[in-house]
């Protein structure tokens, strides 16, 4: 096995391993890795700042939605109140109208009844007068007594 037979190259292998490992370690430690770390940190910071900004915006949007909903419910309440008011008003008006009409009708009925009664009375008295007249005429003709002297 060359690994154990070529002993003469052990020192050479160790030497070059040391050289390249130290070079690699030094360059990585002082140049490459800090560069990568700084870059990643910067990006993380950027992302984090954007996330916090996003949170703020979400909060803002939520408050706007709340505001909107509150206003919406207020408007709905107002609308239903207006509708109720209008209904009440219309109901009242119609009731009033019905009442007024009923009263008017009743009044007219009464008036008509009164008029009828009056006309009945006048008609009766007229008939009475005519009957008196004709009776007076008849009596004066039968008895030859002047009309003026007859008093029924």
């Amino acid at each position: 096995m060359p690994q154990l037979e070529q002993v003469e190259f052990f020192i050479s292998q160790l030497f070059w391993l040391g050289v390249f490992f130290v070079i690699l370690f030094t360059v990585l430690t002082y140049i490459t890795l800090p560069k990568i770390r700084a870059f990643l940190n910067q990006r993380d910071d950027f992302v984090k700042s954007h996330i916090s900004k996003q949170d703020e915006l979400i909060k803002k949007a939520e408050s706007i939605i709340e505001n909107y909903e509150a206003k919406l419910t207020e408007a709905k309440n107002q609308a239903s109140q207006i509708i109720n008011d209008a209904k009440d008003k219309a109901l009242k008006e119609s009731e009033n109208l019905i009442k007024a009409t009923e009263e008017k009708i009743q009044h007219e009925i009464k008036q008509t009844e009164e008029r009828v009664a009056k006309e009945k009375d006048t008609a009766i008295s007229e008939i009475n007068d005519q009957l008196k007249d004709s009776a007076t005429n008849f009596l004066s003709k039968v008895t030859n007594i002047e009309k003026g002297n007859i008093n029924l």
Partner: protein, 250 residues
């Protein structure tokens, strides 16, 4: 693979440039070449996408480029691995775990390229990495807890008469950490690559029926890529667990 070549030939170290420093042979070999490629690739892969990266000023800047997403994926993977095993204190050790994971991962993955060399298939390399982790973790434990670190070997809540038996066991298991850590990675790489080469030999040997081992090789390559990732992950997560042990003892 040429006929009669050993399936282990792929692990042979071949010097590219002979270098001798103070009597030590530190030749630039194929192993060193692939370490160079791995290191360069990792540095380019993770640095370049962020060089041109714009500052995030508007929402449209939030979209990263494709290369950036790939690099971030690796970054976040190790980040969450450390956070899950060690917690907040683990952030300090992020570069170490990241370097280890990426070095082993891309070492393993580049080893899957035909004619390439897998430096993680050499016990000396994996042992060096594991010993590095072991020494780091032990020193970290002593720095954090001082002499109290030895209480790590005493399992709380055990009857006293059990301690003479269990303390040596705990010490042995602690000392065997670097061995298990290195051998696990080394053996996985060795076995996978050897198996691939053995079956590759069957393809040419069986003639027309070589299609069967060929299908097997294709399937096995997928499995090997999974293992390449898995072993890097195991190495990284065990390092995290050892760091956690050193920080919090029990």
């Amino acid at each position: 693979m040429a006929k009669g070549e050993s399936p282990l030939k792929q692990f042979e170290i071949q010097p590219i440039v002979d270098i001798n420093f103070l009597g030590f042979d530190i030749s630039f070999t194929n192993s060193a070449l692939w370490m160079t490629i791995t290191t360069a690739f990792i540095l380019i892969f993770f640095t370049v996408p962020f060089l041109k990266a714009k500052k995030t000023n508007s929402v449209s800047d939030l979209y990263p480029s494709r290369m950036q997403v790939a690099a971030e994926l690796g970054f976040n993977f190790i980040n969450s691995l450390l956070a899950d095993t060690v917690g907040k204190e683990g952030k300090k050790y992020f570069p170490l775990v990241f370097t280890l994971f990426m070095f082993i991962l891309f070492g393993n993955l580049f080893g899957m390229i035909p004619y390439s060399f897998t430096f993680t298939s050499h016990i000396i390399v994996t042992l060096a990495l594991a010993m590095g982790v072991f020494i780091f973790v032990t020193v970290l434990g002593f720095v954090k807890h001082g002499v109290k670190f030895f209480s790590f070997f005493v399992i709380p809540g055990l009857p006293v008469y059990m301690l003479p038996l269990l303390i040596p066991i705990e010490i042995i298991s602690y000392l065997s950490r670097p061995i298990s850590l290195s051998v696990r990675l080394f053996a996985n790489m060795l076995a996978g690559h050897t198996l691939l080469k053995v079956f590759a030999g069957f393809v040419s040997a069986l003639g027309f029926f070589g299609i069967l081992p060929l299908v097997f090789i294709i399937t096995l390559t997928g499995l090997e890529i999974l293992i390449a990732f898995l072993q890097a992950y195991v190495f990284a997560i065990l390092t995290c667990l050892y760091i956690n042990d050193a920080l919090h003892l029990h």
